[in-house]
């Protein structure tokens, strides 16, 4: 889900539609609606345009995931205590953290009537992992034994199946990993791990475009018609009557596609919309006063960092330089002024939304300009700094604010360098062309502390993952391995926290802010709750 925030950002570039709407926010009247709210009136929720058609394993952003979550039942979900709970899976067990046996609950059917069977998962995951299908979430399956066969170094894969994946019978799925991993069940709540019905595939075992336009799910809602990306302004869902689990208390759900959340907020106040899951910073002040207890403010699992190209630029080599830079950043004012409270100052490498967060763990994340200046001078830090960001995601303002902090507090020159896309920063980092600092954001793939560590800071991730700093520390890698093979999640957590301590000491990236969920809903609904994956819990929502 790394792109979740990016997507919202992409709308900003592309849409750039803001002010209007910010303006409108003020101009609108109260929140009273003129529309009748009959029984058939749907609950209406704002989303941005999904980036792709609905291939679950190609949906790596929040908007498409939100829609899929309404029509699919995941194997596991997460409760209020951030713990993994069984959903479509009855049990997920393993003796050695390598071979996992997943039992499915009986009674679930696809919207076309097919029963949900273990083979549905084998088919879906094999499709997702096969490089020929170019699914963007294929790396999720990298831990499964046989993934390498579907992603050979050269040439085309010679098989279509991962050998670690087996349907023992209709209700039992066996998954063999290539190395022990204690957090495996936690991963399974993610979009890429949904099963797919037989009807989704053509004769060659490929998911059809027709399916991706009108996906057949196994969840409480179903599509009423195919979705034409780029032209349709709404996605309409209706309740699936044969759903065996707890059903939502209303019949129809409508996703309305907006290019700007300011416009959406305006519509919410006018009574044309019921739920917005992320308000724009410019709407926050108004939302707090006007929506009252219909305004939701809770931690979101994303983190924003500033990174260093440690692997080839030695000017950042001295950890005191990095610490000084960190202490020179006024995170609190940035969160309040630039983000209007839609971000919180970061003080750990693990986000408060996830088990394992420790408040104030990162001491050098506290604003201390005097100490920063002193330490920077003592370490003989560089006189000029460069700070890169992608200007397609609404990052400009906070990056400028950080640059001003550094200029004023460290007495250095700071050049701010905009890149068109984050990918452009990556290209230059890979080519060792860009030697400055860069911004980077992380939204979790699955709610485990491990997800803040391995993909971003492990030595392994420098080659294929998101370790753009090129950071490498053997002790850190070792602790991750211990965490992965721990017999219980609690034991694993301890190792992960120890690993995070190493990061705080080494500071390969500077954590700057934690994302927050700032949602709002209309008077026509109540009980709106947003889960760890930023998705609305439809079973708790009621119409008023």
């Amino acid at each position: 889900m790394s792109t979740m925030r990016v997507t919202k950002g992409a709308q900003i570039i592309a849409g750039t539609a803001l002010l209007a709407l910010a303006v409108a926010a003020c101009g609108g009247g109260g929140g009273s609606s003129s529309e009748s709210s009959g029984a058939d009136q749907p609950v209406r929720m704002e989303i941005g345009e999904p980036q792709k058609l609905f291939y679950p394993s190609d949906t790596t952003e929040t908007e498409g995931s939100e829609v899929l979550a309404a029509i699919m039942t995941p194997l596991v979900s997460y409760d209020d205590n951030k713990q993994t709970v069984m959903e479509l899976a009855e049990s997920i067990e393993s003796d050695d953290n390598i071979t996992w046996t997943i039992k499915l609950k009986p009674g679930y059917t696809w919207h076309n009537g097919e029963p949900v069977i273990a083979q549905n998962y084998v088919d879906a995951w094999n499709f997702a992992a096969n490089v020929e299908n170019a699914q963007s979430a294929s790396y999720f399956f990298g831990r499964i034994d046989g993934y390498a066969d579907l992603n050979p170094e050269d040439g085309k894969p010679t098989t279509k199946e991962m050998k670690g994946l087996k349907a023992i019978d209709d209700s039992t799925l066996e998954v063999k990993l290539s190395a022990p991993f204690s957090q495996f069940p936690t991963m399974l709540g993610y979009t890429a791990f949904y099963g797919l019905p037989k009807a989704a595939f053509d004769a060659n075992g490929k998911v059809t475009e027709a399916y991706a336009k009108q996906p057949i799910g196994n969840g409480y809602f179903q599509f009423t018609k195919p979705y034409n990306k780029g032209t349709d302004q709404t996605i309409d869902l209706k309740l699936y009557d044969k759903y065996p689990g707890e059903k939502p208390k209303f019949q129809n759900l409508q996703f309305k596609i907006y290019t700007s959340t300011e416009t959406a907020y305006n519509d919410l106040r006018a009574g044309n919309l019921d739920i917005i899951d992320q308000l724009a910073a410019s709407s926050i002040a108004s939302a707090k006063t006007e929506l009252g207890d219909r305004y939701i403010d809770q931690p979101d699992a994303g983190i924003g960092y500033i990174g260093f190209p440690l692997k080839y630029n030695d000017i950042y080599k001295d950890v005191r330089v990095r610490e000084a830079i960190s202490m020179a950043i006024d995170r609190k004012t940035i969160s309040e002024t630039v983000f209007s409270g839609t971000r919180a100052p970061a003080d750990d490498f693990i986000n408060p939304a996830i088990a394992g967060y420790r408040q104030g763990a990162c001491a050098v994340c506290t604003y201390d300009p005097a100490k920063a200046k002193e330490q920077y001078a003592a370490a003989n830090g560089p006189k000029t700094l460069e700070l890169g960001y992608n200007n397609d995601g609404g990052h400009k303002e906070w990056i400028e604010a950080v640059a001003n902090n550094l200029r004023a507090n460290l007495g250095v020159e700071v050049t701010v360098k905009p890149f068109e896309k984050f990918q452009a920063i990556l290209d230059e980092l890979d080519a060792k062309k860009y030697g400055g600092m860069f911004r980077m954001g992380w939204a979790i793939d699955y709610p485990s502390p491990e997800n803040y560590l391995t993909p971003i800071f492990s030595t392994e991730a420098a080659k294929t993952g998101s370790n753009y700093a090129g950071y490498s520390n053997k002790d850190f890698d070792e602790l991750l391995k211990k965490g992965d093979t721990a017999s219980t999640p609690e034991e694993g957590l301890k190792f992960y926290q120890e690993a995070a301590d190493i990061l705080i000491k080494d500071l390969p990236y500077i954590p700057v802010y934690f994302y927050r969920v700032n949602a709002g809903f209309s008077q026509h609904v109540k009980g709106v709750k947003i889960n760890l994956l930023n998705q609305v819990e439809w079973t708790s929502v009621e119409k008023v």
Partner: protein
């Protein structure tokens, strides 16, 4: 009209390429469709009041005589003079250097107008007044440099195409047709996307690439008209070489429309720079541009209108000054329109 005007048909007549191959069957005297400003023709120089000056007045001295008496021209000149001073010595207008980070205090973001901040502060807590003043330089540099480059390139090629005709002319004319067909904003976006960075020079280049075909057409048309005039024939008969004819006889008599269009376009180039910077492909931070300031202020327009409207006002004023100048120059050089 489009957002980026100069490159489009800023002036109808330049677009009004009356169908070149239309066969006009004359019924009576074929009258050219009335043009707003048609290529200057030598015989269009108005009859001058006799005895005003000793020396025979040229189009130029006549125009200058005329200009000095026009309030429009005087007003524009004063405004432009102030803007030029602002662009060269911004520190005369403000003691705050907006390029100095210490002058921005984030905690003071989006403050109203006060004695300390005449135009309030922006989202970064920077002084809007100082930024607005310092923004003049980039606008004017882009406007002037683009105008000069466009006039030189378009004018020269137009001169050559009009004079030589034949294959050179065909090739150049066909090329300009393609440029006219491509929406200018898209062209600018594409060119600027190639650079991956933006500053006054990339913006200038992008605008010049898109704007020269217009100068080219005007020059070409003027040259073709001038080429067939008696005095050119006479010069040729007297054995003048092609270079001499081109630069001594044709150029001075066909450059007036180019100058008119160049002056008027100057204002449009300034507006175009603001538009491109607004879209994020023009001048970039930490450099200051009015378009950029507008873009940065728009998200919080409701909370603070000052950071948006002040640069917007200055931008309009600057464009207005140059367009007024262009209007005055046009009227002076094309007396038929009065």
């Amino acid at each position: 009209m489009s957002d980026i005007r100069p490159v489009g048909p800023a002036h109808p007549e330049t677009e009004q390429d009356a169908p070149a191959d239309a066969q006009v069957t004359a019924v009576g005297v074929p009258e050219a469709p009335p043009l707003q400003e048609r290529p200057e023709q030598p015989d269009a120089v108005p009859v001058k009041p006799k005895g005003r000056r000793d020396k025979p007045a040229s189009l130029w001295s006549d125009a200058w005589y005329d200009l000095r008496r026009r309030p429009l021209f005087l007003g524009a000149s004063v405004l432009i003079a102030v803007l030029l001073v602002m662009a060269i010595f911004p520190q005369l207008f403000t003691s705050i250097d907006p390029y100095d980070a210490k002058t921005c205090v984030l905690a003071n973001a989006r403050q109203d107008i006060s004695a300390a901040h005449w135009f309030g502060t922006d989202n970064q807590g920077c002084d809007v007044y100082a930024r607005t003043i310092y923004g003049a330089r980039n606008s004017i540099v882009v406007g002037v440099s683009t105008t000069v480059v466009t006039a030189l390139v378009g004018g020269l090629l137009g001169l050559i195409a009009g004079f030589r005709s034949g294959a050179t002319d065909t090739l150049l004319s066909r090329t300009t047709e393609i440029f006219f067909a491509i929406p200018p904003i898209l062209g600018a976006l594409l060119i600027l996307a190639m650079f991956r960075t933006g500053n006054v020079w990339t913006v200038m280049l992008a605008l010049a690439v898109l704007a020269w075909p217009m100068t080219f057409r005007i020059m070409r048309a003027a040259v073709i008209t001038a080429k067939n005039q008696d005095y050119v024939m006479a010069a040729r008969a007297l054995g003048a070489g092609p270079w001499r004819i081109m630069f001594r006889h044709i150029l001075p008599n066909s450059i007036a429309p180019v100058i008119v269009v160049a002056t008027i376009n100057l204002g449009s180039f300034i507006a175009a720079e603001a538009a491109l910077s607004f879209l994020g492909v023009g001048i970039r931070s930490p450099d200051i541009s009015w378009g950029l300031m507008i873009a940065e202020a728009r998200d919080r327009f409701l909370e603070a209108w000052e950071p948006l409207l002040f640069p917007a006002f200055m931008l309009s004023l600057t464009v207005l000054a140059f367009i007024m100048l262009g209007d005055a120059v046009r009227d002076a050089l094309d007396p038929k329109l009065r």
